[in-house]
Symmetry: C2
Amino acid sequence: MKIETEKMTEASPASECDAKTKKENASELRQDLITGDWVVIATGRAKRPDDFGKKERKKEIVDPEVCIFCDPVRSGQEPDVLIYERASGDWTLRVFPNKFPAFSRGKVPCQISEGPYFAMTGTGYHEVIVTRDHDRHVALMEPIEIAEIFDAFQDRYLSLMNKKNVRFISMFHNLGSEVGGSVVHPHSQLMAIPVISPYLQLELDGAERYYRSNRKCVYCVMAEYELEHQTRVVFENSEFVAFCPFASRSAFEVWVMPKKHQPYFEHITDEGKLALGEAFQKVMHSIFIALNDPPYNFYIHTSPCDGKDYPHYHWHIEILPHTSIWSGFELETGVEISTIQPEVAAEFLRSKLYQ
Amino acid sequence: MKIETEKMTEASPASECDAKTKKENASELRQDLITGDWVVIATGRAKRPDDFGKKERKKEIVDPEVCIFCDPVRSGQEPDVLIYERASGDWTLRVFPNKFPAFSRGKVPCQISEGPYFAMTGTGYHEVIVTRDHDRHVALMEPIEIAEIFDAFQDRYLSLMNKKNVRFISMFHNLGSEVGGSVVHPHSQLMAIPVISPYLQLELDGAERYYRSNRKCVYCVMAEYELEHQTRVVFENSEFVAFCPFASRSAFEVWVMPKKHQPYFEHITDEGKLALGEAFQKVMHSIFIALNDPPYNFYIHTSPCDGKDYPHYHWHIEILPHTSIWSGFELETGVEISTIQPEVAAEFLRSKLYQ
């Protein structure tokens, strides 16, 4: 997160380090190419890849009869803002405002500053995207159903991006109470808010800085390198590449990225959504098998909608299976410790790909 | 985390916002005065203060007979680097290298870069600070025992800060398996590493920026304002103030800060440690009562030891009781959602202070 992507000049060049020295050091500090942040790959504390899935996701059982998302009308949810139906009239996906929003629909935000501090009312939009089936979460869906979720994200994004005071839209999904999934029924969420995500801002700044130095998109450089070497690639099709990032923040982290440069998720085409549905299904299913149905979060990182252009950003999805707990070190420093090399994680995920 | 501490110019000034508009908006966006980051205080999702302690910390029972920290010699830990004993010869606190270090003692870090990416071996020091009693964690200790922990942190800091390739020392404590406390026996940790914490860097940059604009230390400004208004203050004595920060990242977060400007924790005096022991004990015990013995992390934020001066930084301790789980929104954006106002949290903690 250092602004100058400062490299450790004190470190000896690779040529002077013999294999023994490297081997004696059971951990690696890897630098995020985009933000300059650091992660630790502590292989001295390593587990085997199949040890990561030994702790099962808490399976909270909620009877579909009383599930608030199986029949949102009966359970008194807010009216739908979008609904997808089959020809038969059955709904497959619906979107409605969150009944307990973290951001409330409001007019202009009010300043509520105090002394040296600045604050404002939390105005915005907070919506829920619910798929029909109570049990079938994303890893178990068909590619076409996943494509429909991304279609809904895109539809709502396009509707909300030009609203007054919306500068950024967060699109994310939590599965499992361990990672904030408070309702068992599979659902995604969307928050349209008046400030830009600080983490996204670090990526925007990093992409801009890299472009100024190298005249290339840093994400394109990563995708090209990963595709050429394949060691961290989990899956690819004509439009997308899925890989475990070199500086993974957590074990088995996967990014799904368009191969062609594209700053704006909302510009995705229908063909793009189908290709994304395929890639996403492959990856999520391999995580499901490899880690024994783990809790997970995923989210879309895309350019803000604050009226500015972001030609050097490159949208992508980050998938974070939950296999470990942050301690005081991570909370203090922002330096995550992972106990598996991304190369080993990718190889294990590839071996679990559903053919 | 925006570098320009940008305020929402679109927000209406306080004078134009009537009480009704404010009330209708159940949430607030508060900006961190130091970093420019945002947090959400979603009071529409609020619980009563005493609801936060309803979920008890997992109490893993480990027989002191088999506890690896009750008798570190018997359990084959590394040899002590520091030990505190009573006149009777009984030890009260000891420090030894972590047997499974995240950073390994090594010579010069080796570059292990690959293609466009940069990495190096994770050399450094990773030590454990263990107090004698198997059950009595920090909230239950006497002030003098807590002062001893900070004395040990200081002692080890002074020993490690000038080691080659140590630029930053992380000092932290995890209690509870929910927050990364993998050993039940109370212990703190210290990691001396070759890179500066990205989160600390944000604070260093923010403090520098604030000083350039205002010719004042931003932490001194905060302490002064909090002491004058008292609404967020939990406890104060002659040398320290403990308060819930205006832009708390989590419910019941507390910072303990020297009242006088001081960039370097390692300069703390013996009197300072006694005053810190008192303040820390009061705060930790009120958290223990208010939240029903919750899991928690705390850590010391102090200037790096990279040979540069940091005259505008101000060391402090951040205490994060664990009462909620980060979801995809927090992981994506770095914007934390808290469901209690820091003012209400502080009032509740004050009401639970052990007199």
